[in-house]
């Protein structure tokens, strides 16, 4: 899951000042407010602000996580972008096309060709078998039964559910049901993948397993992903970038490392306080410049490796370990002392 942020590429999803306000006279209130939405004032008028001025971009192959507690508007934002609800104001572009101005037909076409979505409660069709559920988006699209069944069978293999084709959702465990949900959302081979708290309804152990599975899939498929969760650890573990939301406002949008190192607001800082930094920081952030004269160990680490995963190896080595980039070129060296500092040093500083 290498971060493929490159501002040169065209963003897949672009939100520009998106608002979602619930209530009967939302439109009118919105017009009167001149772009300055005050949640308290709106509430008095019987409106609830779901999303308040969200602007961001998601680039091809990027995994953006929207993190927030319940009621923060994260799911609403996701639904605005998939247009399951219509944003009250603002612009949303999918691959350059304004989806708010699309008519129903165009929208259906877009969903049939480019979007897939996974739901918290799995949202499988209870009357269809595993196979039929996965084939459903294809059949809706008009793919022949034979072809759709074949493609669905491939998807079943992809999510390791072989042998359960003819089970009904009610006969599967939660983790298996969500595998079906994932397979269904991927059946049409979408470019954009929406996941709305996909693992929140699962037990902790299964959740971990599913996260690994998810990372494996993303490694193979490299979709552009919008992932909603309320679990900060999950966000840190999976995300290329994280958007932290509170009361409909995006408090901070940055890479996990930057959020932990430089929380933008007090609210974000509270989340990051307890986070062990070795779990988010990459080797890159603690490496020294290459010193050709110094001896290095035989082992090498990737500059994108999370410190925690390679700490033991570095600490066991009596010499600094060389750091390489994607191309295998040595770009620096990391000393055990730096790693020790991250592992144990930060605590006092944070506590003070």
């Amino acid at each position: 899951m290498s971060a493929t942020e490159s501002n040169s590429a065209e963003p897949v999803i672009r939100c520009d000042g998106v608002y979602k306000i619930f209530g009967d006279n939302a439109k009118k209130m919105m017009q009167e407010s001149n772009g300055m939405v005050d949640a308290a004032k709106f509430q008095e008028a019987g409106c609830i602000v779901g999303v308040n001025n969200a602007s961001f971009e998601v680039y091809p192959g990027e995994l953006l996580i929207i993190m927030g507690l319940s009621g923060s508007g994260k799911s609403t934002l996701l639904r605005c972008i998939s247009r399951l609800t219509k944003a009250t104001a603002g612009k949303i572009y999918i691959e350059g096309e304004d989806i708010l101005s699309m008519n129903n037909k165009q929208l259906i076409q877009l969903r049939r060709s480019k979007m897939g979505m996974v739901f918290q409660s799995f949202a499988l069709l209870p009357h269809k078998t595993v196979l039929e559920n996965i084939a459903f988006p294809l059949q809706v699209k008009g793919v022949s039964t034979k072809e759709s069944i074949k493609r669905a069978s491939d998807m079943i293999e992809l999510v390791s559910l072989s042998g359960r084709e003819n089970y009904f959702p009610r006969e599967l465990s939660g983790g298996q049901q969500q595998r079906v949900g994932i397979a269904r959302s991927l059946a049409i081979e979408p470019d954009i993948w929406f996941l709305d708290e996909p693992f929140s309804a699962l037990d902790p152990l299964i959740r971990k397993e599913m996260q690994d599975e998810f990372l494996r899939l993303q490694g193979v498929l490299s979709k552009t992903i919008l992932f909603v969760t309320h679990d900060f650890d999950e966000a840190l573990r999976l995300a290329d970038r994280i958007a932290i939301m509170k009361d409909g406002i995006i408090e901070q949008l940055d890479t996990p490392a930057n959020i932990v190192l430089n929380p933008a607001t007090e609210y974000v800082r509270k989340f990051t306080e307890e986070v062990p930094r070795e779990k988010v920081l990459k080797i890159e952030s603690v490496m020294d410049a290459v010193d050709p004269s110094a001896a290095v160990a035989e082992q090498q680490v990737s500059k994108d490796a999370i410190i925690e995963t390679v700490a033991e190896m570095i600490l066991n080595s009596d010499k600094p370990v060389a750091v390489i980039d994607d191309a295998g070129k040595v770009v620096g060296a990391v000393h055990a002392s730096k790693v020790i500092n991250v592992l144990f040093g930060g605590r006092t500083e944070q506590a003070s």
Partner: protein, 686 residues
């Protein structure tokens, strides 16, 4: 004192009852006194309705219609044209199905005309031998569900054939096979419409409420006026009666679909229609199927009632058998109806749950297995019928169609049973019957009739006020006022008396039975199975055995009502008690309660709102049965409705009487439902 009264509801009730009794005692029964009886100001209402209907049918919006007989255009009212074409269409469908099963000439006549059909005697549908119909049904059962359903279907059709009820049964079946699908489709469409539009739902809700509680008979009269008499009229009345529960359950089911499932459908790229057809309706199928089930039950419940306006078949025969007190025959016919009900119910259920196997690599023979089997059955059936025609040279060909009432009959056995019962227990039964009528029913009836109208209003509105405040009091008052202003207040009191007696007894039996059975999972299951089974029987079936014992009296009607109306009371009690959360039982046990304490202090209070809803259902069941009771002779509103059926100007009377009955039910519904909802809210149950 006032403070105390404000806080304590039971004191309010006490005061209310004292006031009520005082009124009853001191208001004299003088004609013309408004305190005693209100003047029948709505006397003109039925006449106005009649005139309105007449205008609609004969004078409203005349259009030019070409009449092929006189080869000229004629002015005809558009309403009549519309209802005529609907009638024609429905009748054609029914005749088509009927003639496939039994043979006949009408379908061909529809396309060619009588003259041609008379000239060409060969041109008639021959009708399938009964063996083919039964075999086909068995194959269908096997295909949809398996050997169990196939055997049951075979048994049911075998029974019908053997007992010589084949012809009326097929007539009934053809009628149901047309009415039920139309009602299901119509209900589904209306339900979806109401689901998608808030306005439609708001308009439809009160209409559904009234439609479900207006007695069956009342529908018949307007249907008769608009559509005439015959199978089509029966089918249309049935459709009108069977559609509301379907609409209700469709709305309920669609509302229960989780929003995420809907979103999943949308994100899969469904169009509106695909979403509805492949996501919403199948996901809501549990409730929708319940609706289908209800429709089938209602259709068969209407079989007898529809025969009053000319529907042929089992219903007609049953009615005649009942009127002639041929209990054995009535029983056999009743079993036929029940069997048809169960077969249709199981088949529709199995069809809805059918799955496709995508991996089976089938050969031609496998794929068309059932069609091949059916062809074989047709061939064999026809061959057997032909052989039969050689064999039974004289008289009837039993291998083709078993003629009506020429099968085996157990009637003498049942008749002997009835005779034996009468001979053995004559004095006991008669004694009980007389005692019950003279010492219980008549005094209660007189007490009801002796209530001054003002006292009744005070009592009903007072209860409404105590339970639900001024709003409930006014609603209840409006319902009663309508009844009081018609000329049938006394009749309504008789209906109320029969109904309330039955509800008291049913409620008591139901709650006691439910409570006892709720103590153990096994007995709970047994009771629920019994409830399901009994509910499958059309209501008038209950009249058969009680007539056996008590003849044509109020006792019979009352007992039939009690048996029928106990079902919901028992069911709701058992379900209510069993749905008390396990954790509360545990909490009780840990607090050291014994069984009785647990029942009184935990289970009963928590389940009481649910039980109250059961009593509400009991009221509805009892009311509908009181009216059906008119078939064996009562002197309440039901009898008048039945009477207006044979009256040319009966539409107005029938409808107003129907509304009277409905309003009794709705007034009670208003009070019980408000109270149950309050309790539920207070207990945090919903």
């Amino acid at each position: 004192m006032i403070e105390l009264l404000r806080e304590r509801k039971y004191l309010q009730f006490l005061l209310l009852i004292v006031v009520f009794l005082l009124m009853c005692m001191f208001i004299p029964a003088t004609d013309g006194s408004w305190l005693w009886r209100l003047p029948p100001l709505f006397k003109q209402l039925p006449i106005a309705i009649n005139n309105g209907v007449d205008y609609l049918m004969f004078d409203w919006w005349l259009v030019d219609v070409y009449d092929p007989d006189i080869e000229e255009y004629e002015k005809k009212p558009v309403m009549r044209q519309i209802t005529r074409s609907i009638s024609g269409f429905v009748l054609f469908l029914i005749e088509l199905v009927r003639e496939i099963m039994l043979g006949g000439v009408k379908t061909i006549v529809t396309f060619t005309g009588w003259d041609w059909a008379t000239e060409n005697q060969w041109a008639r549908l021959p009708g399938l031998p009964w063996t083919v119909v039964a075999g086909g049904a068995m194959i269908l059962g096997y295909r949809l569900s398996g050997i169990g359903l196939a055997l049951f279907t075979g048994f049911a059709f075998g029974y019908i054939a053997v007992f010589g009820q084949w012809e009326p049964s097929m007539q009934t079946l053809s009628f149901v096979l047309i009415a039920a699908p139309i009602a299901i489709l119509l209900g589904l469409m209306l339900g979806v419409w109401a689901f998608r539009s808030k306005t439609v739902e708001t308009v439809m809700n009160p209409l559904l409420n009234i439609a479900q509680i207006v007695p069956h008979f009342s529908y018949l009269i307007p249907v008769m006026v608009f559509f005439g008499i015959g199978d089509h009229a029966g089918a249309i009345a049935t459709i009108i009666f069977a559609t509301p529960p379907m609409v209700r359950l469709t709305i309920l089911g669609l509302k229960k679909v989780s929003p995420e499932v809907t979103e999943a459908g949308k994100m899969s790229g469904c169009t509106e229609w695909q979403l509805l057809r492949t996501v919403l309706i199948p996901t809501a199928r549990r409730d929708i199927l319940l609706g289908v089930n209800q429709v089938i039950m209602q259709c068969l419940a209407m079989v007898v009632i529809a025969s009053l306006i000319g529907a042929k078949g089992l219903g007609n025969d049953l009615l005649i058998a009942l009127n002639r007190l041929r209990i054995g025959l009535a029983l056999e016919i009743g079993v036929c109806i029940v069997l048809i009900a169960i077969v249709l119910d199981r088949l529709s259920l199995a069809w809805a749950n059918k799955q496709t196997d995508y991996f089976a690599d089938q050969s031609f023979k496998e794929r068309y297995k059932y069609s091949i089997w059916f062809s074989i059955v047709v061939a064999v059936g026809i061959a057997v019928a032909w052989v039969g025609s050689l064999f039974f040279k004289e008289g009837f060909n039993y291998l083709n169609i078993i003629p009506h009432n020429k099968g085996i009959t157990t009637e003498p056995f049942w008749q002997a049973g009835v005779d034996w019962l009468w001979d053995t227990f004559f004095y006991t039964l008669k004694g009980f019957n007389e005692w019950f009528i003279v010492d219980v029913l008549i005094p209660v009836k007189n007490a009801y009739l002796g209530m001054p109208v003002i006292a009744t209003f005070t009592l009903a509105m007072g209860i409404g006020y105590i339970v639900g405040g001024i709003r409930s009091a006014l609603i209840v008052g409006m319902y009663l006022l309508f009844i009081a202003l018609t000329e049938w207040w006394d009749r309504a009191l008789i209906t109320a008396y029969l109904m309330s007696m039955a509800v008291l007894i049913s409620g008591f039996i139901g709650i006691v039975l439910g409570t006892l059975c709720a103590q153990h999972p096994t007995s709970t299951r047994i009771l629920l199975t019994w409830c399901d089974t009994f509910q499958t029987f059309p209501s008038f079936i209950y009249l058969i055995p009680v007539m056996m014992l008590f003849g044509v009296t109020d006792t019979s009607v009352l007992i039939a009502i009690v048996v029928y109306a106990t079902i919901p009371a028992a069911r709701y009690t058992v379900v209510g008690l069993r749905s008390v959360p396990e954790s509360l039982h545990d909490a009780g046990s840990m607090a050291g309660v014994n069984r009785v304490q647990r029942f009184l202090s935990i289970e009963l209070p928590l389940s009481f709102p649910h039980i109250a809803l059961g009593i509400n259902q009991t009221v509805v069941f009892a009311l509908s049965m009181v009216i059906i009771g008119a078939l064996i002779g009562t002197d309440d509103l039901g009898q008048l409705i039945l009477g207006s059926l044979s009256d040319r100007q009966g539409v107005g009377n029938g409808l107003v009487l129907g509304f009277c009955v409905a309003f009794i039910g709705l007034a009670i519904d208003q009070i019980l439902r408000t109270w149950a909802n309050q309790r539920k809210a207070a207990l945090g149950l919903e």
